[in-house]
Amino acid sequence: MTSSAAASQPLVVMENVNKHFGDLHVLQDINLSIAEKEVVVVIGPSGSGKSTLCRTINRLETYESGSITIGGEQLPQEGKELARLRADVGMVFQSFNLFSHKTILENVTLGPIKVRGIKKAEADKTGMELLDRVGVAHQAKKYPAQLSGGQQQRVAIARSLAMNPKVMLFDEPTSALDPEMINEVLEVMTSLAKSGMTMIVVTHEMGFARRAADRVVFMADGQILEQNIPEEFFNNPQSDRAKDFLGKIITH
């Protein structure tokens, strides 16, 4: 999986992307190219810009210079075109962000019906299949507040999948979960990776990175300091920042 994936077409390309929050240079000349079907794990200390990186890719954040393309297309500034491109980029948030007033199934079918214009009956059918795939089909008629965190996050993954995205972004998808629920979400993500989904995953779950990632990208202070295949990165980090960081997260 590792070498063949890296050889295929680049799907997401970030070139010299710069972004500031006021005086804070949160993304500094970011260059990152992600191949089709590649799974990239982004790790780094808190505040290093990992979330911002993810969010610029589907333009939940703007950036000042550089370019980001998805499937060769520039990200439009705003409006219909942007919405269309966003629909192709799935996003899974740390805090799930399910729509509280809609049932689990409605959460999953909203995008297909409203954005893709798919008929409700068909969207329901696909939605149920997806919920089944993430193991929450029996909860379809409930509301998000009635589900556990792990279940909610799996629904959020199904909601993204329902749009048939070209690439999926995960921003610390298990950080808000109780420990006993982390694995059920990681399992869904691992099988997604195996199925050939292109994924960018911000996580500190090294087991997942070793198991499912083709590449680990290490960020600190708004820069990509190093990137490598998981084995190499975890066993033999190059930069002091990475060594220091790994020392801290491995000990606990």
Binding site: A87, D88, L110, K114, R159
Partner: protein, 226 residues
């Protein structure tokens, strides 16, 4: 008491009050929602327009607005929302001008109530809706407004109760609602001064109390669990 009610057409007067409240509440809800959408929109001009609207109408006395509708809107600008051919021209005219004044004023409060409802929605839901590819208006219709209304039932209900009571201001331009009846009662039956007040006050309690109970019930029933 019954004799008072009959003599001064109190029931008819309250019927006018109910109609005033009903129509201006609907108009205020529509106008207030539009202003809330303006304030939430990504367009700077609309945001400022919405903010200015709220500031102006929330800070102007209602009586002034009602008088302005009659003297300004109709008297000066010639806006005439009634037909001169009708036998009830003056009644219709004043009634409709009062509705406009009440709606325009309370829309400012509706707007703020809806915004407080929007604040009950976690920010992440708007981001999730954008990341699915929903546009601004789609996100508003599907995600934000349904939850905002449900989160704002109590403040919206308070606006409605205030509006019901504020209809009495329409007496200033001669609308024959409850306060108009009271004025007549005071003029012709000053001997039962207290009773006059009591009759009208009870009338309002009969309108507002169930409204309040309904609001408490509805805000429980439609609460969005998070």
């Amino acid at each position: 008491m019954l004799e008072l009610i009959e003599q001064f057409n109190v029931l008819n007067a309250f019927w006018v009050t109910i109609k005033l409240a009903f129509f201006s509440a609907i108009l205020a809800l529509i106008l207030g929602t539009i202003m809330a959408i303006f304030r939430l929109s990504p367009v700077g001009v609309l945001q400022r327009f919405g903010a200015a609207y709220v500031t102006i109408f929330r800070n102007t006395p209602l009586t002034l607005i009602i008088l302005l509708c009659s003297l300004g809107l109709w008297g000066q600008l010639g806006f005439e929302p009634a037909s001169r051919d009708s036998d009830t021209f003056i009644v219709d005219l004043n009634f409709r001008l009062a509705i406009i004044g009440l709606a325009v004023y309370h829309a400012a409060f509706v707007c703020e109530a809806i915004r407080s409802g929007v604040n009950t929605i976690p920010l992440g839901q708007a981001e999730a809706s954008r990341s699915l590819g929903l546009g601004f208006l789609q996100g508003l219709r599907e995600i934000i407004l349904p939850q905002a209304f449900r989160g704002a039932i109590t403040p919206l209900g308070n606006v409605l109760i205030a509006l019901i009571k504020n209809t009495t201001v329409a007496v200033a331009i001669g609308v024959t609602e409850a306060a108009y009846a009271l004025r007549n009662m005071m003029e012709f039956r000053p001997d039962v001064f207290l009773l006059n007040f009591l009759v009208i006050a009870i009338g309002f309690v009969i309108l507002t109390l169930p409204t309040g109970l309904f609001i408490s019930w509805a805000s429980q029933k439609w609460v969005v669990r998070r």
